[in-house]
Symmetry: C2
Subunit: 252 residues, 2 copies
């Protein structure tokens, strides 16, 4: 059965955030990501894939499975080089539970904008055992297909929440939770006493951490640069990687 015109239209429409929100659906693609997301906590509605994919991956009967041709895959794929399978996945309802902060280290982003950066951050977080990321509501949408693809599958295992960070910081302000902020005027991270719980806050790609959030930072940290360098900053995903590595090194 060929894929219907309506299905093609629906899938293509999910390139747009407004449509994703209205439909409550997003797209995940490629053999690795699709085979991982069907086994995750996400509710996968349909998998569209070539015959070869279905032969190699046993998928629960509860998920609609539609065999399509390479040509049809090209019609629905958001990738330049489509890779066997595409899944339609339900956007989960998530609310950040502040009790998480009593047990885990959490990353927070003040208006992260670039899809590749957020995807890379999610992949890196998982490498270092970080399971929760909080973003301001103006941040790039985690269900943007570029973000999903850049996570290389980690989206199935790292939870991203959108919330008003200012409100959250007010809410926890009397709870003795460390809020690390990566700031150019911060202290050398290698001289700081890093804890295994709390929040590490990173700023927007061009503006850094906004003043309204900076005032809640309890420890300003900085990755020291080489003497005489002219680079103004590190890319936010690179900074995230270095900071996560350091927190992880200290813990072990």
């Amino acid at each position: 059965m060929p894929i219907s015109k309506n299905k093609i239209k629906l899938i293509r429409s999910l390139a747009n955030k407004k449509n994703r929100e209205e439909e409550g659906l997003f797209v995940a693609e490629g053999t690795k990501i699709v085979s991982e997301i069907v086994d995750s906590n996400f509710e996968v509605v349909s998998v569209f894939a070539v015959a070869d994919f279905f032969q190699k991956h046993k998928i629960s009967d509860k998920i609609e499975q539609i065999e399509i041709s390479e040509t049809e895959l090209k019609q629905i794929s958001f990738l330049t080089t489509p890779n066997q399978a595409l899944a339609l996945v339900r956007i989960p309802k998530r609310e950040f539970d502040i009790n998480i902060l009593n047990s885990y280290l959490v990353l927070a982003y003040d208006d992260i904008q670039d899809p590749g950066n957020l995807g890379s951050v999610i992949r890196t977080a998982e490498w270092f055992g970080i399971k929760h990321i909080i973003c301001t509501q103006n941040s790039v949408d985690v269900f943007n297909s570029k973000v999903v693809q850049a996570t290389m599958g980690a989206i199935s295992r790292v939870e991203v929440f959108y919330t008003d960070l200012e409100k959250l910081f007010v809410q926890i302000s009397n709870q003795n939770i460390e809020i690390y902020g990566t700031l150019l005027n911060g202290n050398n991270i290698y001289n700081e006493n890093l804890t295994s719980k709390g929040i590490i806050l990173f700023g927007n790609e061009s503006k850094g951490i906004s003043p309204k959030l900076e005032k809640f930072v309890t420890k300003k940290i900085k990755i020291p640069e080489a003497n005489g360098n002219k680079t103004e900053s590190l890319n936010v995903s690179i900074a995230s990687g270095i900071v996560c590595a350091e927190f992880s090194r200290i813990k072990n």
Copy 2:
């Protein structure tokens, strides 16, 4: 004087590597990158910019300066949001001098493919005081406009060389130069004795370091992951950032 059709055609043609090589030219864009590259070792042939840019940035008379409108800038720009200025720059002839290895730490890439990754690597290298990067000939071209833009200006100060890494490694094999290789079966980087000279080799985004180069690696290193993580690897630019940070931390 409006910009000529031939100039527009020339600039647009530089999106393509073959044309960049034939013309010996590449494009750099935006106020920050253009104002830095005109003061660098690069030979800038022409700067096309809006009046405001020329008022704010004094540029040597030796460089052709063409005032254009915002509309004209849009016609020649490779950016979604053009930013005041575009420079036509001469591609330098560079040959890697192996004596550099006696004094500096150098990054090497085995077929790095993604423009954003290479750009980010260049920006990160500068942050940590690394001035030289060697890439295999199959790597993405540093003068690809996406790479140039992702360096955020560091392209003016970090030299990228293309060479046959296998030949280079043979050439230096009796010189006692450390070749660090980032490999998933490497030793925990935090337990290694890291030196302030030598080569740090990183692999291709999907295939890692090829066997023909791996055999020259004198120290296999790995960034330790959290227990039980399912991520297969870190993004190459993130891994580069963490490794550079660690070499830099040890040195200081």
